[in-house]
């Protein structure tokens, strides 16, 4: 066992580069996009130029030749400043491009990956439905084979990056038949955007993540070639679960960024703001609150580093990924609540970063498997 959680020089440099980018380019535009609920196209374009969308993919498909941990470091730094921007990158990599890279044919990879890894196009993954999330049996969207084409009908819900001007691909899970055991056979199918019959409905009116693009999707006799099947027929859900485990680590990293961003803002504010004749950070009630926030961020970071290390070493990491997602989401939400408290009335004003973290962080306890789903997975791992 190696017990070294220090970053390599290259990892540190990547972290620092993204930190600078987040401070200089992302943060100045955040309030505007949050307030106007607009997608930050100009920021995404620059992220593409830096190669962030290609971080975990090999160079032959236009990637940067890094790994999921490199992506995590970038997500943490972006998450400190702007969760919407971070989730845009996370979803584009983990949900948009990764399924194609992992399960696609060579031709599918050559068609899709270069545009996705360069950030010129965004991909989305449509799994969740109005009546089904982590429960695959509830899937109602169907795809039937007709004259060498899949004909897709149904609805998807809460799909990130699915309706931007640069969205070019939506991969959907759909019922394609029945298994010998009488269960639903679920497969993944690539749907290029635009395709007749596919509609990204008007965006959701969300509590937070205002600059992230999220839509309900409808499929009305959407026809795509038979060879758009992604991976083996009937393996659509199983394949996706595998990807979801990795995605949890990435979401955990984003959450740690949010938790750390709350610490940073609070430390800065507690040194400046005075009450009862001294900076509020010199009052124990405030100092201890911030110390606890720092501890939460640190523990959550350690958890995702550990899960990522196990994954990259080829070891089992499902439980660790769930733990990282669980403690990460909770650290973000708890820190956001405490940070707004430290900021007093200003913390309730939308132009303060901590208020945005307060609105944004709740979804980290819900998206990509709720806290309860993580607990269920951990309990299962314990044989319960």
């Amino acid at each position: 066992m190696t017990l070294d959680t220090r970053l390599t020089d290259e990892q540190q440099q990547l972290r620092k580069t993204v930190e600078e980018f987040a401070r200089e380019v992302v943060a100045p535009a955040s309030y505007h996009h949050d307030r106007t609920k607009t997608f930050p196209y100009e920021v995404v374009k620059q992220m593409g130029e830096m190669g962030l969308f290609g971080l975990p993919f090999p160079e032959e498909y236009g990637g940067m030749g890094g790994d999921v941990f490199a992506l995590c470091l970038a997500l943490e730094e972006l998450g400190r400043a702007d969760q919407s921007v971070a989730i845009t990158l996370e979803a584009a990599c983990s949900l948009g491009a990764m399924p194609v890279y992992r399960f696609g044919t060579e031709e599918q990879k050559r068609t899709w990956l270069p545009q996705l890894t360069s950030g010129q196009a965004l991909g989305a993954f449509g799994l969740t439905e109005p009546g089904a999330g982590s429960d695959a049996g509830g899937t109602r969207t169907t795809a039937r084979l007709e004259d060498g084409e899949w004909v897709i009908n149904g609805n998807k819900a809460f799909i990130t990056n699915s309706g931007t001007d640069i969205t070019r691909l939506v991969t959907v899970t759909a019922v394609t038949g029945e298994t010998p055991a009488g269960k639903k056979e679920i497969s993944s199918i690539l749907v290029p955007v635009p395709t007749p019959g596919f509609t990204a409905e008007p965006p959701y009116d969300k509590v937070g993540w205002h600059a992230s693009d999220t839509h309900p999707l409808s499929f009305d006799d959407v026809r795509v070639p038979q060879q758009n099947l992604l991976g083996e027929r009937g393996r659509g859900y199983a394949n996706f679960l595998e990807i979801l485990d990795e995605g949890r680590i990435a979401i955990a990293a984003l959450s740690v960024g949010a938790a750390q961003g709350c610490v940073d803002e609070s430390v800065k504010y507690a040194k400046e703001r005075e009450a009862f004749g001294r900076p509020i950070g010199q009052h124990q009630a405030v100092a201890f609150k911030i110390a606890r926030m720092e501890a939460r961020a640190h523990v959550a970071r350690t958890a995702y580093y550990d899960a990522a290390a196990k994954m990259l070493a080829g070891l089992p990491f499902k439980k660790e990924a769930s733990i990282a997602k669980l403690v990460g989401g909770e650290a973000a939400m708890d820190n956001a609540r405490d940070a707004t408290q430290v900021h007093g009335g200003y913390g309730y004003m939308n132009e303060y970063l901590v208020s945005r973290h307060y609105r944004d962080s709740k979804i980290l306890e819900v998206g990509e498997g709720t806290t309860e789903v993580q607990l269920m997975l951990i309990a299962r791992d314990l044989g319960l």
Binding site: D9, E10, Q13, T17, Q46, E49, M50, L52, E59
Partner: protein
């Protein structure tokens, strides 16, 4: 076109900067360090010229061991190789001595252009371009907001108070650039990984042929004699607008001789 870019590591511009109580040199140890901001523009300009015309970009840095971090950043942006002049004997060197030491290294390099940032955020001498020009006997083109290099000629637009002047020189030449010149890129992850294997030569004063007796704090022609912290900010003056706010502002500006 082969270009050498001088890059300096400085204390983070956003951090509180201090001088050491003892020898009154800059405290570099206790603060975060970054690449001098304007040097990023110098690196970017060199890379753009290289990308358009070919050639090699070499980074030259004088500084303690830790300056390697800054050199790596320049390499990850896309420079090809680097030379790091690093020696205890150099500690405390002022601008004149630094130009002597850097000049010694430059004499051993082949280049068409040397590009420097117009000033460093720590000492703010803004003299390196001129000092090197004198040492090397090569023309200096300072304060460039645009550079065009072709064949054996380099032309710049030199920023002036009321416009710009076009200045031309034959190569090799020394150029100092200002922030207006471009928008520096962020290193990509591929660039960061590639930087690891790019050649980095570390030189001691002996290796560079620098006379140890001429560099360092003890031999420095200029010395910091005394320093004090800047006075705390005074409370501002608040003027209530009772319909004559504009007049009061104009009076204040006049009293301070701004208008």
């Amino acid at each position: 076109m082969n270009i050498v870019v001088l890059v300096k590591q400085v204390p983070d511009t956003w951090a509180e900067r201090k001088l050491n109580e003892g020898d009154k040199t800059l405290d570099r140890a206790s603060v975060d360090v970054v690449m001098n901001e304007i040097d990023e523009y110098a690196v970017e300009e060199a890379l753009r010229i290289k990308e358009a015309q070919g050639g090699e970009v070499t980074i030259l840095t004088m500084g303690p061991e830790r300056a390697v971090e800054t050199i790596r950043k320049a390499l990850s942006m896309g420079a090809d190789k680097a030379v790091h002049l690093s020696d205890e004997a150099l500690k405390g060197s002022d601008a004149v001595q630094t130009s002597y030491a850097l000049g010694k290294v430059l004499e051993t390099l082949e280049y068409d252009l040397v590009i420097v940032g117009s000033e460093a955020t720590d000492s703010r001498m803004a003299t390196m371009g001129a000092l090197l020009s004198e040492r090397l006997g090569q023309p200096q083109l300072t304060g460039a907001r645009k550079v065009t290099a072709e064949g054996g000629t380099v032309t710049i637009e030199r920023q002036t108070d009321d416009g710009y002047a076009v200045v031309e020189a034959s190569t090799p030449a020394i150029i100092s650039v200002m922030e207006k010149i471009n928008e520096p890129r962020y290193p990509s992850f591929k660039g960061i990984m590639a930087a690891k294997s790019k050649p980095l030569t570390t030189l001691s004063v002996g290796d560079a042929g620098v006379d140890e007796g001429q560099v360092g704090l003890a031999a420095a022609p200029s010395q910091v004699v005394e320093f004090s912290n800047k006075p705390p900010r005074q409370a501002g003056q608040i003027v209530k607008d009772e319909g004559d706010g504009g007049t009061k502002i104009a009076e204040y500006l006049a009293s301070q001789k701004f208008v």
